[in-house]
């Protein structure tokens, strides 16, 4: 129980392929989504309309990108990235701030680049220097958010109207562009995680760090890359939000780190590494989006969402810790 991210033991081999438990665990996310939909349609007649559901997805597709990156971070045993709000803000501020200088599309790439650089700082400190990820990202988040505020003098940056901005904020084939981006990125990352060596490295490093290092898996590179990826995706998240609301301010991503972590653990990805899936994180994002929508429709104040997110995080992690103890694997 030291603060260093300790390697976990090997995970137990899965038992019979289609036991009752595994069917339940595969179906649990779709079941939860259906249950929330039923609950929603009881609570409010405006819930089960196409417009509302599209809005629900749209509101969470940007932060969903950060959750996709966090899935890699969690699987490779990097716990979580708490600097997400800072990289989201950096991406948004740079993309809008540089828009008038270099044009909107290069500015967007610049924003993603700067956010990825933030992720690189995390990656080097966590992957190569091997400092505890939570402390590193907490400190780097504090630092980068300060830098972001310094950049704009604590104020707001407004977007200049551009064809690119209108496109990103608009619809494509009946769905908002940011929803398309979320699903396309999710698909690419799903293939990366399940079908490429890099994906397998993530599972190996998170499952057993020492054994992976001894088997010539680039353990430090893998862990660092997961954080660079999360920084990059958080930058994209910031740009999507900034372009769709037409402005960016340093607090634009406040609380997103918790949404990302909770979406990841709802999807059954362990924060302690070694198992997880992108598709299930997508499910987690949808569940959180529906819960948020329900809270809004019932008329509870916004902080209730944070309360719900935090409680879900706690319950899911406690169950994970219990199951790991029962199967003899120490978290």
């Amino acid at each position: 129980m030291t603060l260093r991210a300790s390697p976990t033991g090997p995970k137990p081999a899965p038992s019979a392929a289609w036991s009752a438990g595994s069917v339940l665990s595969v179906l649990s996310i779709p079941l939860a989504i259906v249950a929330l939909m039923v609950l929603g349609s009881i609570v409010s007649p405006s819930f089960l309309t196409v417009r509302n559901l599209v809005n629900v997805l749209n509101a969470y597709s940007a932060v969903g990108l950060a959750a996709l990156g966090s899935t890699f971070v969690a699987i490779c045993g990097g716990l979580a990235d708490l600097s997400i709000p800072a990289t989201v803000a950096l991406g948004a501020l740079v993309a809008l701030g540089a828009g008038s200088l270099v044009g909107p599309v290069p500015a967007a790439f610049l924003g993603i680049l700067v956010a990825a650089l933030g992720g690189l700082v995390n990656g080097v400190l966590i992957g190569y220097v091997r400092i505890n990820p939570i402390i590193v990202t907490l400190a780097s988040g504090f630092l980068l958010l300060g830098l972001a505020q310094l950049l704009v003098g604590g104020g707001i940056v407004y977007a200049e109207p551009s064809a690119f901005g209108t496109f990103v904020a608009g619809n494509l084939f009946g769905l908002p562009v940011s929803v398309w981006i979320f699903f396309i990125v999710a698909l690419i990352l799903h293939i990366t995680l399940t079908r490429t060596p890099f994906g397998r490295w993530n599972f190996a490093v998170g499952g057993n760090y020492e054994a992976s290092a001894a088997s010539a898996v680039p353990v430090r590179f893998t862990r660092a890359s997961a954080f660079v990826l999360t920084g990059l995706l958080s930058g994209m998240c910031g740009i999507l939000i900034a372009l769709s609301i037409g402005q960016a301010r340093p607090i634009i991503g406040a609380g997103y780190e918790f949404v990302a972590i909770t979406a990841v653990v709802i999807g059954g990805t362990s924060l302690f590494g070694g198992r997880g899936s992108i598709l299930r994180t997508v499910g987690g994002v949808i569940i959180l989006a529906l819960i948020n929508n329900l809270i809004v429709l019932i008329g509870w104040p916004t902080p209730a969402t944070g309360l719900a997110t935090g409680s879900i995080l706690l319950v899911v992690v406690a169950i994970d810790a219990y199951l790991r103890r029962r199967t003899g694997v120490l978290g």
């Binding site: 129980m1 979580a80 830098l147 604590g154 902080p303």
Partner: protein
């Protein structure tokens, strides 16, 4: 040459508190005419008391190799309770309720970490979010003004030239904690828990009891920070402690307490709090905006934990050694598998 540099580097890491204090004093003396005065010292101590209590609570936690990320949120809850309950309970009972809120939140953390066996990092991350949301929910996002603003005003008065009542409380608490950690068996056992938990368990130390105790203590200290802040500002803000987690961790780490556990001292924390407070006061004298303070606080923290990591053990080289050993083994056995 490089060995010399390494020695100097290690010395700077070890005596960083003195290096930092000297740096602040020299820089302050040059840039501000009236920086090196007792008045400045009194104000630094006074304003450091709030972060100081947070950092004090964190010290035993870090010694035991744990972390409490929820202290900022707990402080906000306590600060709000202290002021919001004044009209119905009276000022003094409300302040005790504020302390109680802190201890209760600490007890909840203790249950989650000890009974539910959730790693303290993740457990207190969740309670950080829950506490912050709860404070905003109860207060409707608005700070309350005290019904009895004169009650807490005396906390920041001058006392014996260099102190104020609240900085005196903080220093007294740091001294009591120092005696506890150094001179009592229970304090020494805590270091054992942080150095090696399996060894501590084998030695018959009630590890769970210590773990629960330090989380309650940390909550209580966060509560004290909230009560002091709220009373002296005569306002209960639901965001009172939201930005103080990093400064508190930084102050503890400046003092030399290590995140890996097993080492640390409350007097070192006292020094770290004073050093960081002096730096904050200096940057305010020079008109540096608050977000710049966030930048350098974050930088100092990252720099120090990196130096601690590099100078402490060569963990970065461990993977290379492992791989080399594995390769050698394969070569020796001819790679037939």
């Amino acid at each position: 040459m490089s060995a010399n540099l390494r020695t100097i580097g290690n010395l700077v890491v070890r005596y960083r508190l003195l290096v930092m204090l000297a740096g602040v004093l020299i820089f302050g003396g040059f840039t501000q005419d009236d920086f090196l005065t007792l008045t400045t010292f009194q104000s630094v101590l006074d304003r450091a008391a709030v972060v100081g209590f947070l950092a004090l609570g964190l010290t035993p936690i870090l010694i035991a190799g744990q972390i409490d990320l929820s202290i900022g949120s707990v402080m906000s809850l306590a600060a709000y309770a202290t002021i919001a309950l004044q009209p119905s309970l009276g000022s003094l009972p409300a302040a005790f309720v504020g302390l109680g809120v802190g201890a209760l939140a600490g007890a909840i953390n203790a249950v989650i970490v000890v009974a539910l066996k959730v790693t303290s990092l993740v457990a207190t991350l969740a309670t950080l979010l829950i506490g912050a949301s709860l404070a905003l929910l109860i207060s409707d996002g608005q700070p309350v003004s005290s019904a009895d603003p004169m009650f807490g005003l005396s906390l920041t008065n001058e006392l014996l030239t260099v102190l104020s009542p609240r900085s005196a409380l903080f220093i007294a608490a740091a001294l009591i904690m120092f005696v506890w950690l150094r001179a009592t068996p229970s304090g020494r056992n805590l270091y054992a828990v942080g150095s090696s938990m399996p060894a501590a368990i084998s030695a018959g130390i009630n590890v769970n009891g210590y773990m629960a105790g330090i989380f309650v203590l940390s909550g209580l200290c966060a509560g004290a920070a909230g009560v002091l802040q709220a009373l002296s500002a005569a306002t209960g803000s639901p965001l009172a402690g939201s930005a103080l987690l990093i400064p508190a961790i930084t102050a503890v780490v400046i003092g030399g307490t290590r995140l890996e556990g097993g080492r640390g001292s409350s007097l070192a924390t006292l020094g770290g709090v004073i050093a960081l407070g002096a730096l904050t006061t200096l940057s305010e004298y020079n008109g540096i905006p608050s977000y710049t303070q966030a930048v350098y606080t974050g930088l100092i923290l990252i720099l120090l934990i990196t130096l601690d990591r590099i100078s402490g053990d060569n963990g970065g080289r461990k993977t290379r050694t492992l791989r080399r050993a594995a390769v050698k083994q394969v070569q020796q056995h001819g790679g037939t598998s």
